[in-house]
């Protein structure tokens, strides 16, 4: 159990470190702050425009299209700034996963309350002996789970990055509109 707690703490520290690196490399820069403010402002105006009941259909639609284009451009620019942090963060995470896997190699840190599907066993059993039970869990799997959970929590709590926009393609979010061409 102490190994499990140690791995969870390590994944928390790793997530905090990667968020701190992203802040230092990208989030605190003036260019990113300007783009973030523009994204927030444009999203607010876009939502107001979509909810407006007055105004003619054609003009309103033209304004909405203009705002959506501005929003997409701002997000794209901010995304290219974030690429710098993404590369560094990716390397740090890979190094952390390798270090944890090496440090806890051969040790079962947890017992899974289910039998993992064959395609996931390479992750749940990474570094464990071949004859270890199916429900044995390696440090790597716990570390990856912790990373996913803590990264999302830290990101949502601190809100240093861009606001979460629509992450689904339009044909998934609104298939009827995509087929009929109406908005």
């Amino acid at each position: 159990m102490s190994d499990f707690v140690a791995v969870v703490v390590l994944s928390l520290l790793s997530s905090a470190l990667t968020e701190a690196l992203s802040y230092v490399i990208v989030y605190r820069t003036e260019a990113f702050q300007r783009l973030k403010a523009k994204v927030i402002q444009t999203e607010t105006r876009l939502e107001e425009e979509k909810n407006a009941v007055s105004g003619s259909g054609k003009h309103r639609q033209r304004r909405i299209d203009g705002l959506e284009t501005q929003l997409a451009d701002a997000r794209r620019s901010a995304g290219s700034l974030q690429m710098r942090a993404t590369l560094v963060v990716g390397l740090v995470q890979m190094a952390a996963i390798y270090a944890v896997g090496t440090q806890f190699s051969g040790r079962v840190v947890a017992t899974l309350p289910f039998e993992p599907a064959r395609m996931f066993r390479s992750l749940t059993h990474r570094g464990l002996p071949e004859d270890s039970p199916v429900s044995a869990c390696s440090a790597t799997f716990v570390f990856v789970l912790g990373g996913l959970a803590f990264k999302a929590i830290i990101d949502r709590y601190l809100q240093l990055g861009l606001p979460k926009g629509s992450s689904l393609p339009s044909w998934v979010a609104d298939p009827e509109a995509a087929i009929t061409g109406k908005k």
């Binding site: 159990m1 499990f4 969870v8 999203e43 607010t44 939502e47 909810n51 009941v53 947890a110 017992t111 899974l112 309350p113 289910f114 039998e115 869990c137 716990v142 789970l145 912790g146 996913l148 959970a149 990264k151 999302a152 929590i153 949502r156 606001p163 979460k164 629509s166 992450s167 689904l168 998934v172 979010a173 609104d174």
Partner: protein, 115 residues
């Protein structure tokens, strides 16, 4: 939804406990994220403490993590999910991290108490 001029300015968490207010998409997604986080940790802890195992637990979780927030925003907040791009648009960035939190708490408590 028409914005009422007389609505007092509430914090996000105050809004989460009041029915029939106007919501922005980012506000709703924030509240849903934390709701799913709390739900995932709770369900994972309960299943782990009780020592329950197997696929039925995963099914219960994945059904619950979609149904519970949907019932909250449609029945309590009075929101039409189509105004925000549909159910998956609201849940999209919360389910992955919620599933990770669920697995971590389920595995952790099960390991601590039943092995």
């Amino acid at each position: 939804m028409v914005k009422s001029e007389s609505e007092p300015k509430l914090t996000l968490w105050q809004k989460a406990f009041v029915r029939d207010l106007e919501w922005r998409k980012d506000e709703l997604r924030s509240v849903v994220f934390w709701l799913i986080a709390a739900f995932s940790l709770s369900i994972g802890s309960i299943l782990g403490v009780l020592g329950l195992r197997g696929l039925p637990c995963l099914i219960v979780y994945f059904v619950g993590v979609v149904v519970a927030p949907s019932m909250y925003w449609s029945n309590f907040l009075g929101i039409d999910e189509q105004d925000f791009g549909g159910k998956m648009e609201i849940l999209n960035d919360s389910i992955g991290s919620g599933a990770a939190m669920f697995m971590l708490s389920w595995v952790g408590f099960y390991t601590m108490l039943h092995t």
